[in-house]
Every structure is written in C-alpha cells, then in structure tokens.
C-alpha cells in the first residue's frame, strides 16, 4: 500500500505539489491523472525516494520513503516516464543488472528474466543491445526491469505509451494480473480508455492539488456522465482557480 499524506514539494518559488493526500490500496489499480504539469511526476519521484518532501509524509507498505528509503524501495517497482536505457547493454543485461541490485542472482534470476521476456513478448530482442530500440521495445525492457523482483507495489508512468495494440493488451493483462494477486498498482496515463478499462479508483490532480478521488462509479455519478473524459474535464473546470503550477520536475 502506498500512502501519501499532506505532501508538499516546491522547487525554489515554484510549488509543484501542495498538501496532496491519497492512498493506493493493495489489490487495486489506482489511477493518478491530471493535465500536463499537474504534479504527477513530482509526486511519483517523492514516492520513489528521489525527492524529499518539504512537508507531509509518504509511506510504502508502512516504510517512510525518507527515513527508511532503502526498505521502501525494496517494496517498490517503478516505470518512470523517461525509460533511460543503456545503449550498449542488451535487454537481458538490463534486467539482470536491476535484478542483482535487488539482491537476486543465479538460476532464480535467470528464470525470472526468461519468464518476463516471454510474458512481455520480447524474446526476439532479449539479446540485442538497446541502441536503436523502438519506444515500444524500450518500454518493455524498462517494464521488465521494474518487475524483475516481483515488487508488492508497482508505479507505472504511461505504461502503454508507444506500444502497439497487441503489446498494449498484453501489458494491461499483466497489470490486472498483478492487481488480482493482491498487489498495489498506481498508474498514470493520458489515455482515458485505458484508465477506464484498468483503474479501480482515480485521483485527479491539478496545480499540485487533489481535486477529486473515488471509484470510477463514484466519480461518474458525481459528474452525472458515463464519459470519463467528460468527468475529467468537468472536474478540472470545477476546481478552484489558482495560478498554474508548472511542474518543474
């Protein structure tokens, strides 16, 4: 479970996230959605343990991401928006590197790598160096890298961005499977159909603040429409006006 309580984070005079609270529960897929610059990436980076909150607290399975960063990170698998591959390493070497950093090794790690390559339909690129990979291929490697230690909490930033239809479907099936296994999944996506098809709960943020939160049914009922895009737009328009907070991170 991921708990964010009263999170505030600024970059010099720029307040990127302001008093944000949300909970991503085990056995659920929680969607964090918002317009560009709403503070999603900053929120994720605080959860990852990369940025220190100015105020508030973030816990992963009860571990504070500042005071107990390593323990929290061991419970976390993340797909950041920038995939950041090493051009001279193969897909398999990427996954092995991160598996070893997570404490895995030997036949167990090899088995996990093979299993992920098969599951993500990337056996054809497993032993190719990453230079020249398509965006979809990069995403598959980054996803496998994030999941190799089978984390209990998974954060996925735009998890199907750049994938073809078949691969997108496979990734969605994988996300649902992780949810069904009792894991906590927190995703960010701009694709409303994907959000609608995947998420059990949604948190909508704008200008670094949470403006709506609930199950899809609750949000639809509140907005009086079944069209999630209309729910999203309507929620943003109803949000209290503030000077736009540029997301610096």
């Amino acid at each position: 479970m991921i708990e964010v309580q009263g999170l505030t984070k600024s970059f010099r005079a720029l307040r990127a996230v302001s008093d944000l609270s949300l909970v991503a529960r085990d056995g659920e897929i929680t969607g964090l959605i918002g317009p560009n610059g709403a503070g999603k990436t900053t929120t994720f980076r605080v959860i990852y343990g990369l940025l220190r909150p100015d105020a508030g607290a973030v816990r992963v399975d009860g571990y504070d991401v500042v005071a107990d960063r390593i323990a929290a990170q061991r419970r976390l698998g993340a797909l950041p928006d920038v995939r950041g591959l090493y051009p001279r390493l193969t897909a398999r070497e990427h996954i092995r590197y991160f598996g070893r950093l997570q404490g895995l090794d030997g036949p167990d790690l090899d088995h996990r790598i093979d299993s992920l390559c098969t599951r993500l339909d990337m056996t054809d690129i497993a032993d190719r160096r990453a230079r020249g990979f398509s965006r979809g291929q990069e995403l598959k490697v980054a996803l496998a890298r994030a999941l190799v230690h089978q984390p209990h909490n998974i954060i996925l930033d735009e998890p199907t961005n750049g994938l073809d239809v078949v691969s997108s479907r496979a990734v969605r099936a994988l996300i649902r499977e992780m949810r069904d296994a009792g894991r906590c999944v927190l995703i960010s996506s701009h694709i409303m159909s994907e959000v609608s098809a995947l998420c059990d709960r949604l948190a909508i943020i704008t200008h670094g603040r949470l403006v709506a939160e609930g199950t899809l049914a609750e949000l639809r009922a509140r907005a009086g429409t079944d069209d999630l895009e209309e729910v999203f737009i309507g929620t943003l328009q109803a949000a209290p006006g503030e000077p736009p907070a540029e997301d610096a991170a």
């Binding site: 940025l51 920038v82 995939r83 090493y86 390493l89 070893r100 404490g103």
Partner: protein
Amino acid sequence: MTAVADPPVSPWWRRVVTVLRKEIRDHTRDRRSLVLALIYPLFGPILISVLLDVASTSFDARTDRPVVAGVSGYAEVPALLDFLSRQQIQLVAVDDAPRAVVRTGRLPVVIEIPAGAGRRDSFTVRLLVDSSRVASTAAITRVSDAIAAWGRAVARDRLAARGIDPTVIEPVRIERLSVARDANIALFFYRMIAPLLIFMVFLGAVYLAIDTTVGERERGSWEPLLIAPVRRWELLLGKAGAAFVFSLVTVALNLTVFRIALGVVAGNRPGLAAPPELAAFAGLFAVAVPLIALAVMLQITIAGLTRSMKEAQIYLGLLPLLPAFPSMLAAFVPFAADWTVAAVPLLGQMMLFGRLIDGAPLDLGHVLLATAATGLATVLVFMVATRLFERERLFFPG
C-alpha cells in the same frame, strides 16, 4: 503472477560489485573509453622512444662513427685532409655555394680552407655550420675537435724539430669525464616517464567517469537506477571502482610499452644508458596505485557536479594539467626526498617516481607516508562526493 516474498537483502559489497561489473562491461563496448584507455597510453612511450633515438644519433660524438663534412679549398692542405680522413671523417669537395649546402642541410658542416693556406705557417679555417640544426651538433664537434688535434700535432712536430719539449705550449690539457650515472642523454628522456605517467593516471578513465555520472543524467538512466534500493555511496564506489580498473589497465599498459620501447632503442644504441630496470617499472606502478584512486574519485566528483557531458569534458580535460606542471618541473629539477614532500598527495608520488627512474633507493617511510597521505585525500574526496550525491539537485537540476 503471484505475490512472493521479498528477495534476500544482499551485502553492500555485492551491490558495489554489481555496479562495477556493469560499468566495465558497458565501457569495454564503448569505442571512446577504449581509445582513451588502450590507445592513448601508447603515444607517450613511442614519442619519447623516437625522440631518444633521434637525439642519441644527433649527440653521439663517438669517433668510430663516420661523419661527412664538406671542404672548400680541397687541394690547399692535403696533410690536414689526410688526418681528418683517418679520423673517420668523410670529406666531400664543395666548390659552389658552400653556405647554401649547410643552410639547406645537405651537409652538417663545410670546412673553408683559404687559398695559399698550405704555404703558410699559420692559417685560419672557417667552419660553416647551421647552429639551429641540432642533428648536426655531433658532426660539428667531431670535425672541430679533429682540426684542433691536427693543429696540436703539427705544433708538437715543429717544437720537437727545434728541440723544445712540446708540453711547453700546452701547460693545461682538458679531459672531459661526465659524472652522470651513465653519462648520456638517455637519462633526460627517462625522466619524462613520470610526467607522462601522471598524465595517463588522469586520462585513462576520464570518459568512463563522465559517462557514468553526468552521462546517466543526460541519458535519463539516473532515475531508474536511483529507484533501485542502492545507497548513493555504494553507487559511487561501484562507478569509481570501474574507473579505477580502467585507469589501472591504462597505466600498466603505458609502463609496459615504455619499458619495451625504451629497451629496444637503448638496445640498438650501445652507448645509451639502459632504461630503468623491470623492478623500477613495477615500483612505478605500485606507487601510482593510490594516485589512480585519488584521480578517479576527483574525476567522478567533478563530473557529477557538472550540468552536461560537454561541460564535464572541459573540466576533466583541464584536470591533468594541474599535476602536469609540477611533474614536468620535477623532470628537470627532481624533488628532494624529504618527509614534507612525501606528505603532500601527488608530490610524494612524483618524488618517488623520480627516485625510481634515477635508480636511487626508496625510503620505506617515504613510500608509506606518500601512500597514506594520498589515500587519506581519496577518502576525504569520497566523503564529500557521497554528500553531494545525496542532493536531489544533482540528479534533477531543473
């Protein structure tokens, strides 16, 4: 996919080794890293060896090596020319434009004998030389010395014919004896090993230091790496360890090529002093090890603080120049072997390098002090770097 237990927590050193292995694997596939580590170390030894070979030819004034000299006024003093020929000086008649012959380098020296010189008791010969041509120095000296010797021989004969002891006009004779270890130019070139070695220490892993720090940021790979449960000092140690291994290889290669190339040159020129012994080269490598550790830690730290790979290349390109100046100076004026010098990181190693190359004995206390001082400096830089690597602005400078 089913929920599983957390993987076991691995010891810190396994994470360090994982990062180190990854960086070495990654950079052995990188052309730029390999060129710096494996090709650049060849240049210094080859350059010094070629220069030594050229210089040894130019300054070699041994009388058993033939030299060629031009003569203007060839028929004037046959006895002088006979004498010079017996001194292994090959003479060539030069009747037209003798100055141009020297200026263009066709001959190192031309002897101008004035008309009617053979009929006079005393005459002046003029040596046409081009003093800007270092390569002509040996020939000029040989010819000049031989003419002077002939003059002394003629004077002695004339005095003897008059019943006078020839030593009357030669109360003082000069005999040169160099007290340098092997009495030749090679020692100067051997002293150039130290500054070039220090340059290699600061060059071998420079691209790796840049690519594994600011390069991670430019590539966007810092973020996934920092999400992994690895402490910053472990990452730093793994990356510095990889750079250390690259620099070790560079320095070992550099010293090996130095020993081989200088050995070949000295072997082909019997008059040259032999290069330092293999044991001295092993000593140079051992003394360089703590310096390599300090160099890579400085490089990783500086590269991590820069905003871009280009900026890092500028700063790390300048870094080797700092030790290069004192080390070049030390090649001409070796540091005194004292405790103060030994206690200063870098200077201590320079002093030890100088003594190893000169074949002088090392004081174990100096070695330990220099190693400890440089090791301590490395630890201090590492501690500072660890604090810097904890700052979020290092990874997300926006």
